[in-house]
């Protein structure tokens, strides 16, 4: 049925597929950044993160209705989402850390319940129809020789590395950043050094949640979203964080791009209907082939 003969030979399809894959991968990395902090560094299995990204996208959508540019809207959203993250962490730690540490089952269930509540609240306030933003650069493309790059993909894909780079610099160059990276393993050492581990974790969770609104802006520029869109991203973002080696932020960008390229190649050359399984196939392969190598550092 498929006319694949001529397609296989075509260079411009290959080049365009690679570029599209890199751009999509970059957007996936933005989605995964918050999880790389909460799950990768703090070891809190926040499966509500993709839903928080959708909440961020709806925040951007609401401001865009009043003519605010999505990127500007995302910047406006940083503070409220940071505070939301702080509140979430307070709720979480009140419940668990005082009981002497959370067990994985309970915290997974808590965040699962939380994501359901957020989804329904979004559905009740925005309806379950698809929402998108209209901006002048959506719908046109940058043409470079045989390359055609839609701005709808290009702009979010450029936004993502900027955000990831900023967070990475913060984590690796500042004292607070170093403390965040240390908090999961060296809680006692931090206390001795006069730092409050609880407030550091709270701060880190706030940053992670703040990245959700930028990721949300990127997502709603790429395509329309609805309250339940987060579910389709859960697999991808966890695959990225886990395969990158828990908390490695540059690593997550690389893995995200690998996944993006694999999906683009599968949908160009095999069949788009196989692409939803790609991220997980990669994750399962990674877990099966190099479990110790990938997670050795985790615990």
């Amino acid at each position: 049925m498929l006319a694949q003969g001529p397609i296989m030979l075509s260079i411009d399809i290959l080049v365009n597929a690679l570029v599209t894959g890199i751009l999509l991968g970059s957007v996936y990395a933005a989605l995964a950044l918050g999880l790389a902090i909460t799950f990768g560094i703090l070891h809190i299995p926040n499966i509500a993160h993709p839903t928080l990204v959708i909440a961020g996208a709806f925040f951007v959508y609401t401001l865009a209705q009043w003519g605010v540019d999505p990127i500007l809207a995302a910047l406006v959203g940083l503070v409220p989402f940071y505070l939301l993250g702080v509140a979430l962490y307070l709720f979480y730690s009140r419940l668990f850390e005082r009981r002497g540490g959370a067990n994985v089952l309970q915290s997974l269930t808590l965040f699962f319940g939380l994501s359901l509540v957020i989804e329904i609240l979004l559905a009740l306030s925005f309806g379950s129809e698809l929402k998108s933003v209209n901006v002048f650069y959506i719908g046109s493309s940058l043409r470079l020789g045989i390359l055609t790059i839609p701005y709808r993909l290009l702009i979010p894909a450029l936004l993502a590395p900027v955000m990831i780079g900023a967070v990475w610099l913060y984590l690796s160059r500042t004292n607070t950043g170093t403390a965040i990276r240390a908090v999961a393993h060296e809680e006692r050492a931090l206390s001795i050094a006069g730092l409050n581990p609880a407030s550091i974790k709270r701060h880190a969770f706030g940053i992670a949640t703040a990245t959700a609104v930028v990721a949300g802006a990127a997502l709603i520029m790429v395509g329309p979203i609805e309250p339940f869109s987060g579910r389709f991203q859960i697999g991808r973002v966890f695959a990225i964080v886990v395969l990158a080696g828990m908390g490695s932020i540059p690593g997550s960008l690389v893995i995200a791009i690998v996944i993006g390229i694999s999906e683009a190649l599968v949908s160009s050359y095999l069949n788009p209907s196989w692409s939803p399984g790609v991220a997980f196939a990669i994750l399962l392969l990674g877990l099966a082939l190099r479990p110790q190598g990938l997670f050795g550092a985790a615990r």
């Binding site: 994985v104 509540v117 994750l283």
Partner: protein
Amino acid sequence: MTKNSILFLVGIAIVLVLGFLMPWVLKNPFYFFVGYVVLQYVTIATGWNILGGYAGYINFGAAGFFGAGVYLSAFLFTTLGLPLPLCILAAAIFGAVLGLLMGYLTLRIQGVYFAIATLGLVVVLETIVHNIPALGGASGMAVYGPRQPFWSPGPSQFNFTVMLIIAAAAVTLARFVEISWIGRGLRAVRASEDAAECSGVPTLRLKLLACALSGAVLAAAGAPYPFYTSYMEPVTAFSLIIGLNAIAMPLIGGTRSWVGPVLGALLLASVQQIATVTISSELNILFVGLVLIAFVAFAPGGLAELFGRKQRRARS
């Protein structure tokens, strides 16, 4: 056999006899349609709890196992014409193999990775079903189930009795696991995996066994589904609601013993069924989400423990 076990088996026998007699007494088929769904959730919650409750390994992919059971049984029934009991058995075996495979890939590391991998199992299986024309793909497949045998008055009553037998078998299996050496080992794993390993408990093998048993029960719960709806398609077979209820019901009921999931499923599934013909709306899922948070936060032992505590207090 202990006194408790004898009492339990007598109880199961009475429930089964009632399951065969009730369709002849209660004439309105509606109750059997609803009863089927409730029993399906009793089976799902019980199956989930063998791994999730006893071993503390959370499975987000219950719908994957359930859907695998749905598709395998429908495929065997329509193309090979296998009789219903064989279809259910085959589904259970397939579920066990799937569970073993998932466990083998991820259990060597840590519980969290197992949970994440199960999130993806549903996506992968659904993608596969979409790409196999013989299974109908997205258009689904009409399934005309077996005619009810002489001992059942109609198809809905027959489906109900079949589901009851599966549920009873699942609960018996869960109770056996719980009171046997398997349960003791799994509890040790749940308390502290390292300590269990050091004191000579074969943790990996135990976890794999729990994965296989849990997968088998979840897939068996799906096996009669195509005959209940006369139709199957990937979206409902791999529905998120199933994965959600599989976790919510044991947590609400209590994960430590077989009573918890049964209690949770009877309660939550009945409430959902009543809500469907009365107030149904998005509020339904919101309610489940809030209940989940509330139980994790304030009653991590579930209803079973709440009752138990009261009883103990009353006794002392």
